[in-house]
Symmetry: C2
Subunit: 412 residues, 2 copies
């Protein structure tokens, strides 16, 4: 966590009077993630910066305006301090309590709005103070997202996370590299791209094109080869490549032709990280181990027009999962932006690579699954797990491999 | 020419009564192309097959129904023979003379129409027989393309060529390989793709993606690398690649880093062949040598939204051409499907790679330029010529190199 430079974190300004429960709200968000909070305390009137790993959003910096949030009119110094905070936040979190909305909140809201900073209004302590619907509607009409929370009960936290994802600028939602960070500058990756009857004519699919471009953008280069020519291509090199990436469907064959010392993964796993959350999807894939005959699996595809994805989602993936489980499973297939309100009846959600979507939408679905207590993974990880090549495919990602090892060990 | 299997040639059925000038029409088309005609004579009632190289369309097979085209009603045998021809033609060419249209023509037209075969009606001998406009309109309304020709005067031949291009099925217009035929199966091509500020974000441009795919489709593979990493990438190989392809703009640097023994060309030159006619564009580029200060150059771009193409067409190409000519040139820039009716005021037409267009449209423009006697080339060939790397860039294409040598030698 500390490796992330402060400047790369999403800056979330936390505003609110005393006793609205800002600290407990922050702690609830923190505890739920089992992430470390290290307060960087300043003077009493200085805002307190709290770096956090807010899953699945990534590294954030909460700027808690403690010391400038006491009751009454804002004095000149306080206005000045608040303005300094306002100048550097990406998202504003205004915490209040139903019935206590007043001048302070209106000033903060106006200041944020005037700067074009997205605002989330949190009505906390919903356990003791009921929120007026008219207030919510009025705020919504002014462009603020509203969330009702109860920190001690943990209520509203998924909604708050989802609101943060909605508000975060694209730069924080889309990580900069697909695989460029795994291949040093001047180094070589080998991309294995099978061409079968289902491959769209005369072109490559988006994850392949984006991966090639990402390598070039990071001063690396690549070899692009079908699985049949892979062995000859590797033989042609004086030194082995820094990484081999394959289409998931060719994983077994490619693993056989790639020396053990060469890191190997799949496009789907790259996109689990790029468009979703790799650790979450790794933990989700481990749930395949607990599937029993008769369990329900929800298979989600972003687009309807992709014949390869359709074939994987409707034919190959169900077959591999059934083989692994050794019994019938009930599959439900969804396409597009619809996502069931009630996920509780599923034992697993398996998502496509979502190459045509932004990361925001996938992260929102991850939160929805967390909230419902349903594991979620993606095609590539589910395939790698059911084919028994999970550990090798996660080799290039130490954190994900660690998550796999800690979750798959028997617990005491 | 003989290397092209008969089955791969566009089959053009030639129908018409005696004395309408079918043979002289065919000879005019042939002479203009300086291509060999080798008649494969059959029995007197069998159709005669004439394989031809009909530039810029490529290899065709004229099936001349001589022997079944005499006057009068069609006898049973003749109907049968004609039907056999009808069963295998891709395009029907019905030659007639104004004033002689009758039952024979109507039967042929109906037979072709009933089979869904595109028809071109040629009213020949326009020098002596004026065509009735009403007849042309009526035929046009029945879906036939009409062309008025005079074989001895050479009139209407470009229009006939253009009609053939319009009628030819896509498979004959789009050649099967971009570069897959230049790289043997199991062999390696290196594709050099500079990433500058003008490169569209997060992806590759279409010719690059299509080239990668074409290699995979032909069981070859490739290395994709920026120009700065090329030397390191080549050093990593035990054997040199079969071909290096670069973006035209990086040609000089790439030529310096690529061993002389390795064939080198550019994406633009590949696309001169794939989307246009390489020999025609090579001859067109040689006209740069004859440009004088004050001459007019027409620069044509297929699309308006491509920042790289715009920069090349509007800034770099004009600069390189001016430097080569050593004086001012008048540039006119056109975008999209508009093409001037009157090309006569231009000394040269330079076209973009037309990666977003089908080949048909570029071939039509080539014919229009021929007709106006204006040389036409494309960006890549114009750049290669003005940078003095023409001969090396044509190395992989023996026929084009031969055209270059024969046209650039002083004539006696």
């Amino acid at each position: 966590m500390k490796a992330t430079p402060k400047g790369n974190r999403l800056h979330i300004g936390l505003f609110g009077r005393r006793n609205v429960g800002k600290s407990s709200l922050l702690n609830s968000l923190t505890r739920q993630d089992a992430a470390l909070v290290s307060d960087v305390a300043g003077t009493t009137t200085d805002p307190i910066e709290k770096p956090m790993e807010l899953l699945p959003l990534g590294p954030v910096l909460f700027i808690d305006t403690a010391g400038i949030d006491d009751t009454g009119a804002l004095g000149e110094l306080r206005v000045q301090r608040t303005r300094q905070v306002l100048d550097r936040v990406d998202v504003g979190l205004l915490v209040s309590i139903a019935g206590e909305w007043g001048e302070f909140e209106e000033v903060i809201l106006a200041e944020l709005g005037g700067r074009g900073i997205p605002v989330i209004v949190v009505f906390n302590k919903s356990d003791c103070c009921a929120v007026d619907d008219g207030r919510l509607v009025a705020l919504h009409e002014r462009g603020a997202l509203c969330v009702v929370t109860s920190a001690p009960r943990g209520e509203g936290l998924p909604a708050l996370r989802e609101a943060l994802i909605q508000c975060a600028p694209d730069g924080f939602i889309t990580p900069p590299a697909i695989l460029g960070d795994l291949v040093p500058p001047g180094e070589l990756a080998v991309l294995v791209i099978p061409i079968d009857l289902e491959a769209p004519k005369g072109r490559l699919i988006l994850p392949q094109v984006q991966s090639i471009r990402d390598l070039l953008d990071n001063d690396a280069y690549c070899m692009v080869v079908k699985e049949r020519e892979l062995r000859g291509a590797l033989d042609r090199l004086k030194r082995p490549p820094a990484l081999v990436v394959t289409d998931s469907q060719a994983f077994l064959r490619v693993a056989g032709d790639t020396p053990d010392a060469v890191p190997l993964t799949s496009f789907s796993i790259l996109f689990a990280r790029f468009k979703g959350d790799l650790t979450e999807f790794v933990v989700g894939a481990l749930a395949i181990d607990s599937l029993r005959a008769g369990d329900r699996v929800l298979v989600c595809e972003a687009c309807s027009h992709h014949p390869i994805a359709e074939d994987i989602g409707r034919v190959k993936l169900p077959r591999w999962l059934r083989q692994y489980v050794g019994g019938r499973l009930e599959f439900t297939h969804l396409q597009g932006h619809d996502f069931p309100e009630d996920l509780g009846s599923y034992q697993l959600v398996v998502h496509c690579g979502a190459c045509m979507w932004n990361r925001r939408e996938v992260l929102s679905r991850i939160i929805r699954c967390r909230q419902a207590g349903v594991p979620i993974t993606n095609y590539g990880l589910a395939i790698a797990f059911s084919l028994g090549i999970f550990q090798r495919a996660l080799g290039p990602f130490p954190a994900a491999l660690e998550a796999y090892r800690s979750h798959s060990l028997p617990r005491s």
